[in-house]
Symmetry: C2
Subunit: 355 residues, 2 copies
């Protein structure tokens, strides 16, 4: 489907749109009705639907182009938001966020949509997120991350703002939320390290945030299954910043706590932790096995190549765009958890010297 | 300035805009005239300018906000384009392009602008690049890369489309082009490797593209200064893709050519080349010293840490946005080359065993 849409969205778009408008005019119905008819909606009666399909066929109109293209032909822009914290004003350099931005750009391009990209301060998220929709500049919103604004996001959903959020499934969640299975991801990472014979596994990630919190839950559940007590000195609440991995290693070293493995909540944290471990003369994976999270492209050619929990970043962009376009089209858009997967490479691999 | 703008673009924006519209209304002039007056344009006579400044003062309007904010208050969107090649349909995962996208997003946010981001097929660049401007959806365009479309870009500039392009300075260039000093970058890399005692320097980059071609020129000039002949077997035209570095090493190995250094035209190519060299049992930097290009964030914690030619990615975004806003405001926007800089780290460092 993606391939077919790709072609539609380029050279033929103008011609197709003309034909779609023609169908509605000739049938004496709205483009919304044409859209529903082509999608076999029960809201359109059989006679009208028959006329519309006949007209579509006579106009050689391809129904592949999707119903939303009809209704939205005047506005094919989607707002994509990545907030920033006003205190740290972090620049947009996090490789996971950038990869997600690239994935969303590709998915929107496939569907013939433009991305209106803005950074907004976290503390104005509730008010600012809907602004481009309220002013009619976009037909829907994709927000990357929940940023601790669960209630504001619920309010947006309650007033029917078409919004899809990347993040964790949470209790009492009214908004459509796409994310990966964080509990399972945490379990996969820790089970792998345990199978390698590691028993003192440091957890690096800010467990005040929903996604790391769920990964920590999976981590603790895996330990419990193996009869290993959770040692809070092995948990370090690092921010998702390049300095995070370094600070985590410094904290663990300063605590004087024994550890033979690190499970980091992003590949960025894992890579910068490995760089710091090297500075402390600790070999990876021989002395400390390291598992990351995300599977960004760089993990495959980092040294040592990074064992990680794969979030399907490419699929994530498509899933969010698909959910949003369905929602805009009036269809129910269910929240979804995408599967996570263990990718075994050298940083915590099969050939483990301590195993 | 960036800091001040930052604040403007967030909470106070709505209020300020109202005040700006008020100035124009109360003065009985257009917002364009208000803009010119606040910028000391000679096009506004002294009496009008005096009235406007008085009104501005009485309304506590801050002139820091910039004249373009007045003229453009209805539309604060800039189109950012990163084309794709229809044949390879490369997904947007190149870390340099993503870093540039992040830099542009931050620079536009600082100035209170949104980014309308689209990917367009390279072969439609001439026709598609100006579409969002022609339809009034954006007030200007930033294109990342020239993509071999020099003539089409000249045509856009000739018909006064406000466009700023990231790329190489080329002969007969009508469009505003911001880039880094590629010839100097090539010279810096090669001079550093020569100073380390390396004499057989492989050059990895597609010299059919303007930027790698200029880096190659700097490379050859440095060799010539040292009386070293250019060996074409040491040049490999790799694409800017993750597989590029691997393929370059395989090509060099297959050619059976002797080399003790690699100068790669991006950090991505350098990193993937290092990964492949490791697979061939060649140590970096001991057997092969490697210099990259770009200085993406990851280069600082890659192993070995990457010696590279730094392109000022953060400054690049701000320079392009500043040039575009000046152009939109009717001011001349000159093409510019940002300085490149050698960053010495371990992959081709001071402590060189072969030096």
């Amino acid at each position: 489907m993606a391939k077919a849409r790709q072609d539609d969205s380029s050279s033929d778009t103008a011609q197709r749109r003309l034909q779609m408008a023609d169908i509605a005019r000739l049938a004496g119905v709205s483009t919304a009705t044409v859209s529903r008819a082509l999608n076999n909606s029960p809201l359109v009666n059989a006679e009208t639907r028959g006329r519309i399909l006949e007209l579509a066929a006579s106009l050689k109109y391809s129904i592949n182009i999707g119903a939303q293209n009809l209704r939205l032909k005047q506005n094919r822009s989607i707002s994509v938001l990545i907030p920033f914290d006003r205190k740290s004003h972090q620049n947009l350099t996090d490789p996971f966020l950038l990869a997600m931005l690239g994935s969303l750009a590709d998915a929107l391009t496939e569907q013939g949509f433009d991305m209106l990209f803005s950074r907004i301060p976290v503390d104005e998220l509730g008010a600012a997120a809907a602004a481009p929709f309220d002013s009619g500049r976009v037909v829907g919103i994709i927000l990357v991350g929940q940023w601790g604004r669960h209630e504001e996001l619920n309010e947006l959903a309650a007033r029917k703002v078409p919004i899809v959020v990347w993040g964790a499934q949470l209790p009492r969640q009214l908004y459509c939320c796409i994310g990966s299975d964080n509990v399972s991801g945490g379990t996969l990472a820790t089970e792998h390290l345990l199978a390698q014979g590691r028993r003192r596994i440091a957890f690096v990630g800010d467990i005040d945030l929903p996604e790391p919190a769920q990964r920590y839950r999976g981590h603790c559940e895996a330990l419990a299954r193996h009869g290993i007590a959770v040692d809070p000195r092995l948990q370090v609440s690092s921010p998702f910043l390049p300095r995070g991995g370094r600070e985590a290693v410094e904290t663990l070293q300063a605590r004087g706590v024994d550890y033979d493995a690190v499970f980091a909540c992003s590949d960025l944290l894992a890579m910068t932790a490995i760089d710091s471990l090297r500075g402390h003369g600790r070999r990876v994976p021989d002395d400390v096995a390291v598992v990351g999270y995300d599977d960004i492209d760089q993990s495959a050619y980092f040294h040592p190549r990074l064992t990680t929990i794969r979030q399907p970043i490419g699929a994530a962009g498509r899933a969010m765009v698909t959910a949003l376009l369905a929602m805009i089209d009036g269809a129910p858009a269910a929240s979804a958890q995408l599967p996570t997967e263990l990718v075994v490479r050298a940083s915590a691999g099969e050939h483990d010297h301590n195993g």
